[in-house]
Amino acid sequence: MKRRDFLKGCLMCSAAAAVGTGSKAQAAGSFEGYPDAMGVLVDLTRCVGCRSCEAACNKEQRLPEPDVPFDDTSVFEEKRRPTERAYTVVNKYETGQGEPVYRKIQCNHCNEPACLTSCFVNAYTKTKEGAVIYNPKICVGCRNCMIACPFNVPGYSYSSAFNPVVKKCIFCHDTRLKNGRPPACVEACPQEVLTFGKRADLIKLGHERIRETPTRYYDKIYGEKEVGGTGWLYLSSVPFDKVGFDTTLQNEPIISNVKDFLGMVPMVLAIWPALFTGVHLLSTKNKDGHDDHDDSHNGTGGH
């Protein structure tokens, strides 16, 4: 019996070791984000839906005048998404537990952005400050980034015939973040819903808030792990799927889905030529060593 237990133990140890190294090897391939990257912690429990952030964004980014003024709350009747005319929008969710919950949507500035990795001209850059910025001068307009973005953020200026480009939140990179200043929406928020800081610190802050008042918060920071981690992080009083977040997202970055295929490419490039030329030699050389090609298309035979 003892011997059997010992063997069992050995097997389990080696299996655990194999699993352990396996997951480590996988993790080694992914990028955890720049150490000093900035982020914003969004505390949904504090948001009252005043839309000041929308107005501030509109002004800072010189976006067109909205159809409905920013103090009009009728926009909450619909669920909106960021577009070419609004880089951030606030939606209202009735959760059935007293007060409605408001949720601000903008680019989440992923650590390993799907838009960036899907772009075939490298129009996107993840800056060391944490912003995901975009170069409209080289964008071809394939809109693969819009397909790839797991948060449905990028908008496209379809209405422009000669210079349509992707329009999305850039963390106020050019005008503010580059100089160490928080984005316009953060500065405008009267409720301190938005906290600007280093992403690493914000994660600590978020967990602290949950620990201090566990009754107020659902025990999770959205964006800490989703698709490899995002620069913008969220705290909520209700489960995140109740307020429109996609809670089925994977924790690995989107690019990890594509790595299998991309890894196969150089193998095909290297192996196929020899394989098929070899097959050709094997299958077409007859015993006399002549190619029995009937040259059917040179027109001298037949007819």
Binding site: R81, F120, I138, V140, R143, F261, H280, G299
Partner: protein
């Protein structure tokens, strides 16, 4: 043309050689373009064809809208949706046309690499089908891109080598050149430029092998594109591990069946262009292609089910989307599979052609499902393409059909071009032998035409002997 020939009887001489049969004069380029008719006769036959009138209506409506797309922008022809950035132009034009164009690399491989010379009568149709399918997929892409004039950017201005689309762009561009080279053989024959054909013939094996590489990779890459959107493509149409294999494997029956479909349409509408070799072999070739397609379909069905089993997605089958998935598989995979199995065994070619139609529609439906119909399945609203978008897609597809027909009417695709190129480029030694043979065997050449064709035949014999 068919109607016209029916009315005219057999008095019309087809262009099937560099020289006219009746008086041995060289066909002029203009005559070749007009199918050996006078301009007036050509116009007459064009007007007699009812299909041309349908096309005229489509172009009258569609071409102004096509021009409008470039003047007023994408918002004029699409719903400008940010949730559905890819509409009909890519969902149909790129994702459905590319798999149906895999025929070029398959028949190229069968004939040139595996030495299946019995398939050669249909090889050129398969190559042309591949070339045109890819070319028009790129045309659809040009309509879809926000700034189509920047299409060469991934090649020269900025590189995103980690992106699947980067791979697609490079491979489609390279593969288009490969296919142009492959199809150019027929063009050189038709133009009477034997040197060009000879040059291409020399690199055929290289071209074919690069065709296999590029096809494997970018047919798969189109599938891998969707692995960027794991939450948006419905789980039944999505497989993180096998998406590229699903797309690649389904392109195999798709491409083969597209060749069967095109040859079926051609047999109904332009059999005057077939030579005896093509006519007598067509049924046999159709069965051969269907055999390939059957294996492709069986493999595809298996890996589709493995895809569902691998991620344990059986529960989705019981939903509404699941019923739609089952319908797609039944109609586009299992039904043609059963039809092919039965009709190949019993030699029922008509039924095979029906199965080929089903397969082609099944592949198109699969791509539309993945890219459009089930895309964003968790969003409450489905987007139905704008009517202008649909009209542009129909018009562009009609341009594809017209181009396809234009080439089939003229280039030696369905017939062998009877070139007498050999005496011209034969070496002095060979030419002497030929004249000797002619002097010995044919002291009094009955008519010039016969002697030319005969000398050609002799020469080919000499060449093989040497």
């Amino acid at each position: 043309m068919k109607q016209y020939l029916k009315a005219k009887g057999n008095s019309v001489e087809h262009v099937d050689a560099l020289h006219r049969n009746s008086d041995g004069r060289k066909w002029t380029f203009m005559e070749k373009l007009l199918l050996g008719l006078t301009p007036k006769e050509y116009l007459q036959q064009a007007l007699k064809n009812p299909f041309n009138w349908i096309l005229a209506v489509i172009f009258a409506i569609g071409i102004p809208i096509m021009i409008g797309r470039f003047i007023f922008g994408l918002s004029w022809v699409t719903h400008s949706s940010c949730d559905y950035p890819w509409g009909l132009f890519l969902g149909f034009g790129l994702f459905a046309m590319v798999p149906l164009s895999s025929s070029g690399f398959q028949l190229g491989t069968a004939c040139e690499v595996f030495g299946r010379h019995d398939l050669e009568p249909i090889e050129r149709l398969a190559l042309l089908n591949g070339l045109l399918g890819y070319f028009f997929a790129v045309m659809f892409l040009l309509f879809d891109l926000g700034q189509p004039w920047r299409l060469p950017y991934p090649m020269i201005v900025a590189f995103g080598p980690a992106a699947v689309l980067f791979l697609v762009a490079w491979h489609v561009a390279t593969y288009l050149s490969v296919q142009i080279a492959e199809v150019s053989q027929g063009f050189f024959e038709w133009m009477g430029w034997p040197a060009g054909k000879k040059a291409v013939r020399k690199i055929t094996l290289g071209l074919t092998v690069s065709g296999i590489i590029l096809s494997t990779l970018h047919q798969g890459a189109l599938g891998a594109l969707f692995t960027y959107a794991p939450g948006k493509v419905h789980p039944l149409w999505y497989s993180a591990s096998f998406q590229w294999l699903h797309f690649f494997v389904s392109s195999i029956p798709g491409g083969l069946c597209m060749v069967i479909v095109v040859s079926t349409i051609a047999a109904k509408t332009m059999s005057w262009r077939f030579d005896d070799r093509f006519k007598t072999n067509l049924d046999k070739l159709t069965i051969s292609l269907a055999k390939g397609a059957t294996m492709g379909l069986a493999t595809y069905l298996t890996i589709k089910l493995i895809g569902v089993a691998h991620d344990n997605k059986w529960e989705y089958i019981a939903t509404g989307w699941g019923a739609w998935y089952v319908a797609e598989i039944m109609f586009g995979v299992i039904a043609p599979l059963a039809i092919f199995t039965y009709s190949i065994k019993n030699g029922k070619v008509g039924l095979i052609r029906f199965g080929a139609w089903l397969t082609v529609l099944g592949v198109v439906l699969n791509r539309l499902n993945t890219a459009m119909i089930t895309f964003n399945w968790r969003l409450p609203e489905r987007e139905i393409p704008h009517w202008r978008e649909a009209i542009i897609a129909i018009t562009l597809y009609s341009v594809y059909i017209v181009t396809y027909r234009f080439i089939l009417y003229r280039l030696p695709i369905f017939y062998k071009f009877k070139t007498v190129e050999v005496p011209v480029e034969a070496t002095a030694g060979v030419r002497e032998t030929v004249s000797l043979i002619e002097e010995n065997d044919l002291p009094d050449a009955a008519c010039a035409k016969e002697s030319i064709s005969l000398s050609g035949r002799r020469l080919s014999g000499i060449e093989t002997a040497n």
